[in-house]
């Protein structure tokens, strides 16, 4: 493991750990995150993890670019994946239904599976949170099995309902708030994904693992879900 350090801005360096996206990256990414946070301490402004990289934004009044490089190199010396370094494991309840997941049919047709099989296959895997982005609390998770993979919609929706669960290529995610979006929608979670009152704000953090659990309509409503059909948001 020899991470590359690249210049990205006057006060930002990119630590490139991998070239491809796999679940095996995560124990390394978490170990590197921990080391970098400790190494930079209060001089760290933000550490932005993505699938294969960690962007280090540091305080330029405290560190020169070369000092920052040295800190990174030092922090990542003899980096070892920490197999114990797993984030939290979440179970996310999802009401899989055509009214809130209009692409269930499309995924069924593409894969040759029945809608029930699509739901079962989506909910039986454990996914990793690779990165958060797009919106506060929006977690990019994967990888969904090949059969369920599908490209983004050619025309994104202007308004996707909050809680909507979708698939794009081999990734899956849930929309924290109403927003534009082009993912294939298959269901909706009643869980609050981003909450300014919660410690840590976001339900899911980079490195966490997530399993989706199919629930029925009554349970969805009991958990506070909003069952407004997606087509009413158009």
């Amino acid at each position: 493991m020899k991470p590359r350090i690249e210049v990205v801005a006057v006060d930002c360096l990119m630590v490139r750990l991998f070239e491809v996206i796999t679940e095996d990256n995560m124990p390394w990414m978490l170990a590197a995150t921990e080391r970098l946070r400790a190494g930079f301490g209060r001089h760290l402004i933000d550490l932005v993890p993505s699938y294969t990289t960690l962007m280090v934004h540091y305080d330029l009044s405290a560190l020169t670019p070369s000092q920052a490089r040295e800190l990174i190199a030092e922090a990542l010396t003899d980096l070892a994946a920490n197999p114990q370094a797993r984030g939290q494991c979440h179970v996310l309840p999802v009401w899989y239904d055509l009214s809130v997941g209009p692409e269930l049919n499309l995924l069924s047709q593409r894969s040759g599976l029945t809608v029930d099989q699509v739901i079962r296959r989506h909910s039986e895997r454990e996914y990793q949170v690779f990165a958060l982005g797009f919106a506060p609390g929006f977690a990019f998770m994967g990888l969904v099995e090949e059969a369920l993979a599908a490209p983004r919609l050619s025309t994104p929706r202007k308004r996707v309902a909050a809680g909507s669960v979708g698939i794009a290529e081999r990734q899956t995610a849930a929309y924290p708030v109403v927003s534009p979006g082009g993912w294939n929608l298959i269901g909706r979670t009643p869980s609050k994904l981003f909450d300014r009152e919660r410690d840590g704000y976001s339900l899911m953090q980079p490195g966490d693992t997530v399993r989706f659990e199919a629930i029925n309509h009554a349970e969805f409503i009991r958990l506070g879900g909003d069952d407004t059909p997606q087509e009413n948001l158009a």
Binding site: D46, S50, L54, T64
Partner: protein, 305 residues
């Protein structure tokens, strides 16, 4: 407490500070004043900490009426400000008597004016900042990301302790056509030779497709020849090049990660200048190495000491 009633406003008049930090790994954008230099001077004029909450007024259309005797500072663009109908030039601290009206009419020079109050305008911080990000429903007077609206009241808590005068030579000259410095990024070698030449030898026009997320530049199409990228963290000022080849400078309200290749990132001083450019204006780009840009930035920050 001193209060000011908002008599007129637009969706482009926002409470801002230096931005929201320490939460970008959760997908929360940075936010904050686009022209950090002018925001800092506005605060400096009142002896505030440089990141105290200010009002960012873009283009004009903003009117305040003092409900008490007030003291404010104005920096940045000349938006044709008038105090009870009398012209009020920026880059100074000034007083308003109760009932006096402060009005921003139209952009005369620059695009964004910053209004500061002693100790900063009062607002609850959300995730460590009161920077307004409409899209994320964070910050602002109400905490839920709404723009400053007619009928709302701005206030500040502490009396003015120190009114400073800004030496003339410190006032940024928005008329100067300095090229915008770009710290070159890792994908720079993946652009065609012609594109690299074009990037730094062309005149770029500021497009009307510009907001707090990014400003598009119009000019020759730049050609990226590398592999498709995996999404990664986006720094402030990143110049990303989507498949149509027209670069977009990403600003404070950008998304936190993205997968378009980048030429590099504008320096903070270049970003402050770009934030004052109106659509149709022309800019040039020039490369700078990270160490030089760092030195320039540290030296500039000393001016506020």
């Amino acid at each position: 407490m001193s209060r000011l009633l908002i008599e007129a406003s637009t969706p482009l008049c926002l409470l801002q500070d230096a931005g929201r930090f320490g939460v970008r790994h959760l997908g929360v954008t940075q936010g904050g004043a686009l022209d950090w230099v002018s925001m800092s001077w506005a605060n400096w004029l009142l002896g505030n900490s440089l990141d105290a909450a200010v009002v960012e007024i873009t283009l004009g259309g903003f009117t305040l009426v003092a409900q008490d005797d007030c003291c404010l500072a104005l920096a940045g663009a000349d938006l044709g400000a008038q105090l009870d109908g009398q012209p009020l030039a920026p880059w100074r601290a000034f007083s308003l008597k109760q009932g006096q009206r402060l009005q921003f009419t139209q952009p005369l020079l620059g695009a964004r004016a910053y209004l500061a109050a002693p100790g900063g305008f009062a607002a609850n911080k959300v995730l460590g900042s009161c920077a307004t990000v409409v899209r994320e429903e964070l910050g602002g007077l109400d905490g839920f990301g709404r723009a400053l609206a007619k009928g709302a009241e701005l206030s500040y808590l502490r009396p003015a302790v120190e009114l400073r005068e800004l030496p003339r030579e410190q006032i940024p000259d928005f008329k100067l056509k300095l090229p915008l410095e770009v710290v070159l990024g890792a994908q720079i070698g993946e652009f065609s030779g012609q594109s690299l030449f074009d990037a730094f030898n062309s005149v770029w026009t500021v497009d009307s497709r510009a907001d707090r997320m990014g400003i598009r530049l119009q000019g020759p199409a730049l050609q990226y020849q590398g592999q498709p990228m995996i999404s990664e963290g986006i720094p402030l000022g990143a110049i990303q090049v989507p498949p149509d080849g027209q670069p977009i400078v990403l600003l404070n309200d950008r998304q936190t990660i993205g997968g378009y290749p980048r030429l590099g990132a504008l320096t903070p001083l270049a970003l402050a200048r770009l934030a004052q450019c109106l659509p149709g204006m022309q800019v040039r780009l020039t490369p700078v190495v990270q160490e030089t840009a760092h030195q320039q930035q540290v030296e500039y920050l000393r001016r506020f000491a």
